[in-house]
Subunit: 193 residues, 2 copies
């Protein structure tokens, strides 16, 4: 219970994580040195190794936890209509991703800097998220609510379209997030009809 005087692990730990996230997103994993992260945190490089065994684990944890949070946050009410479920998915996806631009960015850009083993873990999580959308589309296609030639292609097309919002959307811009969501929902709805 008693905490060692001068221990800052519960403060420094998150700071290391935040600094790594910001710097990886800004400059890319390979271009960011442990010294740069340490400087951002306000410690010397050696001190970082109290919080991560190595740089690779730092990256893996950021991507892994992002995917876990995504899967944890996404809800699908299977008692509602396919159209309502799809609308909820579109709304959730855009909102969740718009809230975490750095996490989303490194999740796409830094996949190839994961070790093969770490990549497989993250990739499995990503696929299970895709599967949730495909399940909705398959259900709607089966009931006749949707007209979709190939649900796998439609899944990938919709996710690519929605995730693209992150490349240009900035809060405080010409359109509010609600307006953006409304317009994407309009396009997605028509595309699967």
């Amino acid at each position: 219970m008693a905490r060692t005087t001068g221990s800052h692990s519960d403060i420094t730990g998150p700071k290391v994580r935040d600094a790594a996230l910001r710097l990886f997103a800004q400059n890319g994993y390979a271009a960011v040195s442990m010294r740069a992260i340490a400087t951002e945190v306000g410690v010397q490089a050696g001190a970082l190794y109290n919080y991560t065994p190595d740089k690779q684990t730092l990256l893996f944890n950021l991507l892994h936890d992002h995917m876990e949070e995504l899967l944890e946050a996404q809800r699908d009410d299977i008692t509602t209509s396919p159209l309502d479920r799809l609308r909820d998915f579109v709304d959730f996806h855009i909102r969740f991703h718009a809230d975490r631009p750095d996490e989303v960015f490194i999740s796409y850009m830094e996949l190839r800097n994961l070790t093969a083993e770490n990549f497989n873990v993250v990739e499995t999580l990503r696929r299970s998220y895709e599967d949730r959308l495909e399940t909705i589309l398959q259900h709607g296609a089966a009931t006749g609510d949707f007209v979709i030639a190939d649900t796998k292609i439609a899944t990938l097309a919709v996710i690519a379209m929605l995730t693209g919002v992150n490349t240009w959307f900035r809060s405080g811009g010409r359109l509010s997030l609600d307006q953006v969501i409304a317009q994407y929902w309009d396009m997605v709805r028509k595309a699967v009809l």
Copy 2:
């Protein structure tokens, strides 16, 4: 006219370019050393500097030339209907990008590794490509052929969706490129109707 005996610049030059393209796409610009490129070409690192002043120029040329080729190849017959022009754009975009997976990949992943000046050049070219699609959508919206709330958003949404094909399409897979194009065209067509 006469060529120096033993000169291989017309062979080695393209080989340097191809090796850089492949390695940048596979491992990322920052993670690829000039020595690695030289090994791939079959020369020593110092020899590369007969073909590029530095590593940055190597990257810039790849991205710049890719965008120039894209703009050069894209055709828009303004005498046809908005729907036909849009269909041609979708067909062209998917086909052109599917043919050049490495160029497309580094054009998205390595933008941030360009110097500010080089980035602006490439970014300007990219925007002018986007503008060509937006022109088509604006025209169709004006004639009533399309129903689009915001042509800028629709432009970005369609390009994100189409470019997403490159993340999963592999020639020889479940679907032919023609089948893929047909399905994307179906979704795009319905989305703007």
